[in-house]
């Protein structure tokens, strides 16, 4: 076990999975409670389209992922307000639009580019030193903003109209939250993959909800499940040479299934 940690790539994988698990599972709590998880799937595919364009043009993939992920949030918010529609409609449109763009860009590439597919399926063991620095900086920034506006995000998740009427700048904070979700998805993109990152946003929070009676405990349970599944996934991926992203999601899904079958709430565990 300890010799594992002497490998640089394993150290990076453990640190990256800790940060990604923590960020996605805590921000996922707000996404799940507000019912806006779909934006996570949308931004993941938009970010992937950005990555494919980066490989096609030689631009930095991470930067392109950030730009296209955030653009997804801005464009869908604008279209939603302009067209007075429910958020899932523009997200659904741009989700498939950006995926079509990604397939188009891949088609324009010369030959087979395996590094592109790492972003689609995830490869946590291939996280580089510079990837890790970006993940670290963005994770800390997201966690800091979450901590600063925790009570406001809590309020708008419970009831946005009530929050606005009480003098909370609810619309601005709601937009900020969407941007944070997009950033969380982008930092998890290379490690977990565009297809599976949505799971890391939804599953730990949804499982935690089956156990938690208040916001703080839901955050803690969700973080434990997110980080626990990520670390276990990395270990299993190394030992059995199985895909890391898929293993993490399968483990989290197992926890979810368990929590639905045996919800802690109905068994009187309410002091937490």
């Amino acid at each position: 076990m300890l010799e594992l940690l002497s490998y640089g790539f394993m150290q990076r994988a453990f640190i990256a999975s800790l940060l990604i698990g923590l960020v996605c599972s805590t921000i996922g709590v707000f996404a799940v409670l507000r019912g806006i998880t779909f934006i996570g799937a949308g931004t993941a595919h938009a970010a992937f389209a950005g990555v494919t364009l980066a490989f096609l043009t030689g631009l930095p993939p991470f930067l392109m992922a950030v730009i296209s992920g955030l653009s997804m949030v801005w464009v869908t918010t604008y279209v939603q307000e302009k067209g007075k529609m429910k958020p899932d409609v523009p997200i659904g449109v741009f989700y498939t639009f950006t995926m079509a763009l990604a397939i188009f860009f891949i088609g324009l590439m010369q030959g087979y580019r395996p590094e592109v597919f790492a972003y689609l399926f995830g490869s946590i063991l291939s996280v580089t030193q510079s990837d890790l620095i970006v993940i670290l900086v963005l994770s800390l920034a997201i966690l800091l903003v979450l901590a600063l506006f925790f009570k406001e995000f809590h309020f708008i998740s419970f009831d946005q109209e009530m929050a606005e009427a009480s003098g909370i700048p609810a619309k601005k904070l709601s937009f900020l939250l969407l941007n944070l979700i997009a950033l969380a998805v982008v930092i998890a993109l290379k490690a977990v993959g565009a297809i599976l990152v949505f799971a890391l946003l939804v599953i730990p929070a949804a499982a935690a909800q089956q156990w938690a009676h208040n916001m703080r405990s839901m955050m803690i349970y969700s973080a434990l499940i997110g980080v626990g599944a990520s670390w276990t996934g990395v270990l299993l991926s190394y030992w059995f040479d199985v895909p890391s992203g898929a293993t993490i999601v399968l483990l989290a899904s197992a926890v979810f299934l368990f929590s639905v079958l045996f919800p802690g709430k109905r068994q009187g565990l309410r002091r937490f």
């Binding site: 409670l33 007075k84 600063l148 506006f149 009570k151 406001e152 809590h154 309020f155 419970f158 009831d159 109209e161 009530m162 929050a163 606005e164 009427a165 009480s166 003098g167 909370i168 700048p169 909800q209 089956q210 938690a212 009676h213 208040n214 916001m215 405990s217 839901m218 709430k265 309410r270």
Partner: protein, 264 residues
């Protein structure tokens, strides 16, 4: 009662997507007044509340809330207006305690980033106490009945230490006994906190027994006055149609409307 109104509508009109919801409204609300707002569906009752919350601005005319135009209403002004929205029962699975819900009443005046102080916690406990929910404060909010959830949401509004309390159909979807207790509670907080109350409802008989002033709306202000003046066939029929029947119960008028109007 002070001479200076705390809310002043001057020929104000409000519209949703170009569709007029309230027209040419001129109205003053005074400190400590208990106003009941009635009218058929789509008569602009909720629009009136949205306007009072500063969430909807007049397309013509003016609306003055406290000492500023509603367009200039800032967060600190909003914190002085308590609001009980018409809300569906919260999902039992939503992880929030009674205490957390009531504490949200403090967030507006606390400001961004800042955390609640000991004084805030005392105010919240006091508010929960006044609705008889302090003992259950660590209980999950979603596990409460509809009537109990309303009590907690009233406590949340009271924790704001508001000067005006807006209530949107507070008794809808609640059984008769709980309704009566809720109405008693609203009267109690009106007296205890000297609150200005604006209560929107379709229950004419309930509101006429508690409010000092009734506003009858149907896209515009049809009538304003004490319940005894409003609860007559002459006043109600033009708005509700011919189906209005006025019976007597305990020496007081009792209004029966056709089902079509009565259900929200």
């Amino acid at each position: 009662m002070t001479a200076q109104p705390i809310v002043q509508f001057s020929q104000a009109s409000f519209a949703y997507n170009g569709h007029t919801a309230l027209e040419d409204l001129t109205l003053d609300l005074h400190e400590g007044e208990f106003v009941g707002v009635i009218g058929p569906n789509g008569s602009g009752k909720t629009t009136l509340l949205k306007a009072l919350l500063g969430l909807m601005h007049p397309v013509s005319g003016a609306l003055q809330i406290f000492d500023c135009a509603c367009q200039a209403l800032r967060c600190e002004h909003r914190a002085r207006i308590g609001y009980l929205p018409q809300k569906e029962k919260t999902d039992p699975n939503y992880p929030i305690t009674i205490w957390e819900v009531a504490m949200m009443g403090r967030y507006g005046s606390l400001g961004l980033i800042k955390r609640p102080s000991k004084a805030d916690r005392e105010i919240v406990l006091d508010a929960l106490d006044s609705v008889d929910m302090a003992d259950l404060k660590d209980h999950p909010f979603g596990h409460l009945s509809g009537g109990e959830q309303q009590r907690v949401l009233i406590a949340r509004a009271l924790a704001q230490r508001p000067e005006i309390l807006l209530l949107d159909e507070p008794t809808t979807g609640i059984d008769a006994t709980t309704q009566r207790r809720l109405v008693e509670l609203i009267c109690k907080v009106h007296q205890a906190y000297r609150l200005t109350i604006v209560l929107v409802t379709h229950d004419i008989n309930m509101i006429s027994s508690i409010a000092e002033t009734i506003l009858l709306l149907k896209t515009k202000l049809y009538a304003k006055g004490p319940p005894a003046e409003i609860l007559t066939k002459d006043v109600l029929s033009p708005v509700y149609g011919e189906e209005v029947i006025i019976a007597k119960r305990d020496q007081k008028p009792y209004i029966i409307l056709s089902d079509e109007h009565h259900h929200a």
